[in-house]
Amino acid sequence: MYRTLVGVGMFCGLLIAIVFQGTLPVIERNRAEALERAVFAVLPAASQRTTYALTPEGEFVSDTDAVGQRVHAGFDSDGRLIGVAIEASGMGYADTITVLYGYAPEQEAIVGIRVLTSKETPGLGDKIEKDAVFLENFVALDVRLDPSGETLQHRIVTVKRGQKTQPWQIDGITGATISAKAIGEILATSSERWVPIINEQLEQLVAGESDDES
């Protein structure tokens, strides 16, 4: 009796394994492309990228099998470091929001942002992905390090629409205050952690070769 069950099971397992193996390259290519698109979107001038992992020892390695949180360095066609794309997440209005943002060490600013996942209310909270004025904030959002190099000079903060006066402020969204603030919080927390690390290891990143995946 169980022989049939086991037989069917074996067959099914086999079938899945074949499909999995067959689709895996396609899926991985899709994912890589999607990631690439996202990275290039938040680092507008970049055309190549290298993914680094931050090892527990606090070093960036480009070894793809290395464990640790990943950042993606973007380079232009001449191999010059444009910036680093960093993934960050935090609680939004409805659920966790994940964003990818580009940090440009030269400008000491965030130069782009892309929402990867969000369940914010359509039409309201999802303005964080569509609202032109809001996205304007992230062309050059100041994340200058303070002289000590340990932390930021000014923490990123979201203000009411129309009240932005400083380069480190985010002009909020009317009617979607919570989502806009959430983005500010996510960026503030993440940048406070990452910007000092990246600046410390900047040389390594600049020197890093870009692997020509694209």
Binding site: Y93, A94, G123, L124, K160, G175, T177, I178
Partner: protein, 340 residues
Amino acid sequence: MSAKNKTLEIDTSPHIVSGASVEVIMRNVVFALVPVCIFSVYVFGLTALITLTAATLSCLLTEHVLCRWRGDRSTLGDWSVAITGILYGLTLPPALPVWMVVLGGVVAVGVGKFLFGGLGHNAFNPALIGRAFLQAAFPVSMTTWYPALGAERFAVLPPSTFTLPFASPVYDSISGATPLAVIKFDGDITAATDLLMGLTSGSTGETSGLLILAGGLYLIARKMMNWRIPVAIFATVFALSGVFYLIDPAAYPGPLFMLFSGGLMLGAVFMATDMVASPMTSFGCVLYGVLIGALVVVIRLWGGLPEGVMYAILFANAVSPHIDNLIQPRVYGTTERGAS
């Protein structure tokens, strides 16, 4: 004599009645709401008048048409749908496009009342269903507030009011913010006197706490409203927000602000007391009020929304059958509290 051969009418006891009637109760609720409406027109001008009229008319018309469609007598005469219409209108932002007002009115009566079986069967407050639907459908319009006491409020209509049906409304650059939104997003407190007098931005009818209270007192005096519900709500909100205010006055608004801001007054006095959707027993009503009060505080202080009265009441409406099941009066001569 002729009397002896006359046919007598027979009826069943009791042969006298108290004179209370659904119509009279409902009509008095409408009366109690009229000053609130008038004040709202004073504060927000023509656009509030149009919103209130459109809300009431759309509810009345929906009820009439649906009754006829079902093949029944029109039930406009019991005044209950008039209450729904006015209350619904009072919960809307003054400058809401008329087409949205009408849509919500149709939903309020059609879904909130008719589909449930009409008067006496609506499990939820129909006016709030209409508003909740609009809140979910048009979140931006529903949170764009017209400023109070604008100079030209009787001369000029905001461009949004007469937006073409199904089109996006265009709002003036000048728009107000409700005291609750102000405190939630900016951390500023509105002056208590302004709150009390209702001279703030907000829904058409939610701003004047005093007039709402007066209407409620009138109905309570005439025994047409269960005073326990609003009192329990107020007491709970006051106590809970008071505790948090004492713990950290910087982070939490004071209890008086909580009482008089937003839709709490209107909701507690006129919405939560909807007889059909609230519990029957006195103790049940107190529990119901406490539940609403607690939810309002929780949503306002920790939720994503600045205001939670509508959701608190709708939630409590859903709980009220259970309150009724659990809290039955103890039958005379028995020791146990009611059967399940």
